[in-house]
């Protein structure tokens, strides 16, 4: 193949083809061809997830050492890693099912008990001749007629674009939707029966959408999807890097999440047989990096200490300016971030759990992809982010995944570490293990004396559960024949070491907040995040994540941020509370606390202490 001659790459089973003029990795080519390839590290050769099959390796580079390490026996079955395979000639690339990710799944129905105080209302208006001054513009006439209803009525330009001519509606009754701040969202010749709104929680790994009827305040349904930005990096730091390294990086990241959100809106509309033109408001929360990417704000400031967000106030922007497919006259409400690593989603979680109104102290932990900790009550709220400390980027364990179908969410460990059972999300064949699964495993091994406090697998363990891997000694969670991928799922001592580091950061963070508040009695502990719902409270104490002295009732809420975002959507008091809550929250930067380092090292050990 001579230099500069184009070659054709075909992706199967889709059949998508792409022509390339220069050697590129299969990963890069898949992105160019818009073919979905699962990846946790954005093509950096760190996760081993981008598995492809190349039956005829004529036009591709030889198998690298790195690939051999990740693929093991699979390399003999023509498996390759897309990010390590350089393609230089005509090639067919087959994407196996486990690498091809399905985007959408309907979340199980979330029961919401939210007090609704709608932020919009509908009313009827008659435009009669007394308003029709010849010298006034259409907008002025409408405003004059609306004066009796609202002194601050505002007619957005998008509304004026689609309103019928005045002579058609004159002397007729029209219905209108008005927001509390006076913005008119819709005029209709017919009676307006319903109006809708969506609350979005953009997580690093999963995106949640909650559809509400916002005229009366009624929950309709919810939808979940994977965050497509994962192709560019599993965690926020690698996405920040991506946006800085590549000139179009930020807009690529932004477009990918917008597309997903708009697809979710389409799906919800199809399912509920409504039109997007009836969706007038959206509330969008997420961590600060997700917030900035959604808005198209640059990430360089946030990327270095002191991790400064570009904007720290609440925003209320026309949907058309953001590219979100709501009604043309729709608005997007964006609650503010508190800090570079404490975003609007944590604020939403505080509102959702009502910590700011409680007499009793509540410890709230969002243990999704990042780790935010909030401790407080109506007098004072402290918050911090454990992910912004030495634990950042540490919790990358080989077999780890979010709480999606196939994730092991609970392990029952028996005598000598033999397993009594594993439970996976969706009861599907296991693909990996998620947060709650890891915690139950570690707690179980500790109780059976099969894990030392320093994180080593002890020789009490039954030999059938042990395996030597290229990364060291590991515990076998599931044999190859039991798994979805055909390879065994093993958690190594090195993985456990990474978890110790993450656990130590969270534990030290909890201790610092607790000490700052004077060691109050904590009545309630709430865990939220895409963590897996089968969390056994005592396991958290067994592994030393929570001090036994903080023994409040522990409960898991699947999405506190989604609940909070929904409250902001359908309850005008909650919208007003945003400003007060954010001022009430005090952010503690763990890296700057001199006692953090010592507490961190002490918290590395497993055990109850």
């Amino acid at each position: 193949m001579s230099e500069g001659m184009p070659f054709k790459v075909r992706f199967l089973p889709d059949g998508k083809e792409i022509l390339s003029f220069a050697p590129k990795t299969a990963f890069e080519l898949s992105m160019e061809a818009s073919v979905k390839l699962g990846s946790n590290c954005g093509g950096r050769g760190k996760c081993g997830q981008c598995r492809i099959i190349i039956k005829e390796p004529k036009g591709v580079s030889n198998v690298s050492k790195l690939e051999e390490q990740f693929l093991g026996p699979l390399k003999d079955k023509s498996y390759r890693l897309a990010c390590q395979t350089i393609v230089n000639g005509d090639t067919n690339i087959f994407i196996p099912k486990e690498t091809n990710e399905c985007d959408f799944q309907i979340k199980k129905e979330t029961k919401f008990k939210i007090k609704c105080l709608p932020c919009i209302s509908t009313f009827e208006l008659k435009i009669d001749s007394t308003c029709m001054d010849d010298l006034l513009s259409k907008e002025d006439i409408l405003k004059k007629c609306l004066e009796t209803r609202s002194k601050h009525a505002h007619l957005p330009i998008e509304l004026l674009k689609k309103m019928p001519p005045l002579f058609e509606i004159k002397d007729n009754i029209v219905s209108a939707i008005i927001r509390r701040d006076g913005k008119i969202l819709d005029f209709s010749k017919n009676k307006i029966e319903h109006a809708y709104g969506i609350a979005f929680d953009i997580g690093t790994t999963t995106v949640g959408a909650y559809l509400w009827e916002i005229k009366e305040g009624r929950f309709i349904t919810s939808l979940g999807a994977l965050n497509p930005q994962r192709s560019y990096g599993q965690d926020v730091i690698s996405r920040i890097s991506y946006s800085i390294e590549s000139p179009e990086g930020l807009s690529i990241l932004r477009n990918s999440i917008l597309n997903t959100m708009n697809h979710m809106i389409e799906r919800l509309c199809a399912k509920e047989r409504i039109s997007k033109d009836m969706i007038f408001e959206a509330v969008v929360v997420g961590n600060t990096v997700m917030h900035h990417i959604f808005l198209g704000l640059p990430l360089k400031d946030i990327s270095v200490a002191p991790y400064r967000p570009v904007v720290a106030k609440g925003l209320d922007l026309p949907a058309v300016s953001l590219g979100l497919s709501l009604a043309d006259t729709g608005y997007v409400i964006l609650p503010p971030p508190k800090a570079g690593f404490l975003g609007p989603d944590t604020l939403a979680a505080v509102i959702g759990t009502g910590i700011h109104k409680k007499d009793k102290y509540v410890l709230l932990m969002d243990l999704g992809t990042n780790a935010e900790i909030v401790l407080g009550n109506k007098s004072k709220i402290l918050c911090t982010s454990a992910a912004a400390s030495p634990a950042f980027e540490a919790a990358h364990i080989g077999c780890g995944m979010a709480a999606l179908p196939g994730a092991i969410e609970r392990v029952q460990v028996g005598y000598k570490g033999k397993q009594l059972g594993i439970k996976t999300v969706g009861d599907q064949a296991p693909k990996g293990i998620c947060g709650s699964g890891v915690i139950s495993l570690l707690a179980g091994l500790l109780r059976e004396g099969c894990l030392t406090k320093t994180g080593r697998l002890s020789n009490r363990l039954s030999k059938e559960r042990l395996m030597e891997t290229y990364k060291g000694l590991g515990y076998v969670l599931a044999q190859g024949k039991e798994t979805a991928t055909g390879s065994e799922i093993v958690i190594t001592e090195k993985d456990i070491a990474e978890l110790q580091v993450a656990k130590a950061a969270i534990r030290a963070g909890i201790q610092i907040l607790w000490e700052r508040l004077g060691l109050p009695t904590v009545e309630e502990i709430i865990i939220t995040g895409a963590f897996g719902s089968s969390l056994e409270p005592d396991d958290l104490v067994e592994i030393g994540l929570i001090p036994p002295a903080i023994t409040g009732k522990i409960r898991v809420i699947e999405n506190a941020a989604g609940i909070g975002a929904s409250m902001v959507l359908v309850n005008w008091r909650k919208r007003k509370e945003i400003f007060h809550v954010i001022s009430q929250m005090e952010y503690i930067d763990l890296a700057q606390q001199h006692e953090f380092k010592d507490l961190f090292v002490e918290a590395l050990a497993f055990g109850r202490y």
């Binding site: 800085i244 200490a305 950042f392 980027e393 320093t454 994180g455 090292v601």
Partner: protein, 216 residues
């Protein structure tokens, strides 16, 4: 009267095992039994940490145990340091170390510093979030042999590059050895920036530095 030898062997093991309180207790005991402070450090504490470093390099232990052992060592050193005679001996070399601009991580950096100092190097700690200019100024001022740049976040890559280039383009560029460390970096990237070596962690960092200077 307990055997001094036993106490000192026990101390060495306690540091390796990361038993901080036991190590501190045995340090006190050894001193009370008349052991020479310098000997305790040179023949028991440093070898303990070197053993830990070796096991880490061999992937027999990982970061948590390394950190716990280092903390135990630090606690014992704090007891002994006031009793040590002033350093007059030959230093193996001068190393300037810092975490790159924008990065606040320092555990790895501090481990390297501890290991280097105990191996006989003169170490200047620039701290964290250090701009490129500062690395250059200090390297020049102390006539450094090696400059160590620590970076633990991938977002630090452009600043690592900037720092290495600034050092190379300066008047000390031809003389100093530059090593970059941290899990987020790769050998390929670091060498392409113009550095001499890469180390993924503290223990291998010290080994590489010794190699760069042609020492044992």
């Amino acid at each position: 009267m307990a055997d001094i030898q036993e106490t000192l062997e026990g101390l060495k093991q306690a540091i390796i095992d990361g038993e901080r309180n036991l190590a501190m207790k045995l340090t006190q005991e050894a001193l009370e039994q008349g052991a020479d402070p310098k000997e305790i450090v040179d023949h028991y504490m440093i070898p303990a940490l070197e053993e830990v470093g070796k096991r880490f390099e061999q992937k027999k232990i990982f970061i948590p145990e390394m950190m716990i052992a280092a903390k135990s060592m630090q606690a014992c050193l704090d007891i002994i340091r006031p009793l040590l005679p002033k350093e007059t001996g030959q230093r193996k070399g001068t190393v300037v170390v810092g975490s790159v601009f924008g990065d606040l991580h320092d555990i790895g950096k501090n481990l390297v510093i501890m290991l280097l100092e105990n191996s006989g190097f003169e170490v200047i700690d620039l701290g964290v979030n250090v701009p490129a200019k500062r690395f250059v100024e200090e390297a020049r001022k102390v006539n450094a042999d090696v400059v160590g740049i620590s970076s633990l976040l991938t977002t630090g890559d452009p600043y690592v590059k900037e720092t290495v280039m600034a050092l190379r383009e300066s008047d000390v560029g031809g003389k100093i050895k530059i090593i970059c460390g941290g899990a987020a970096l790769t050998e390929k990237f670091v060498i392409s920036c113009g550095a001499d070596a890469y180390a993924p962690d503290a223990a291998s960092g010290v080994t590489k530095i010794k190699e760069l200077l042609g020492l044992k």
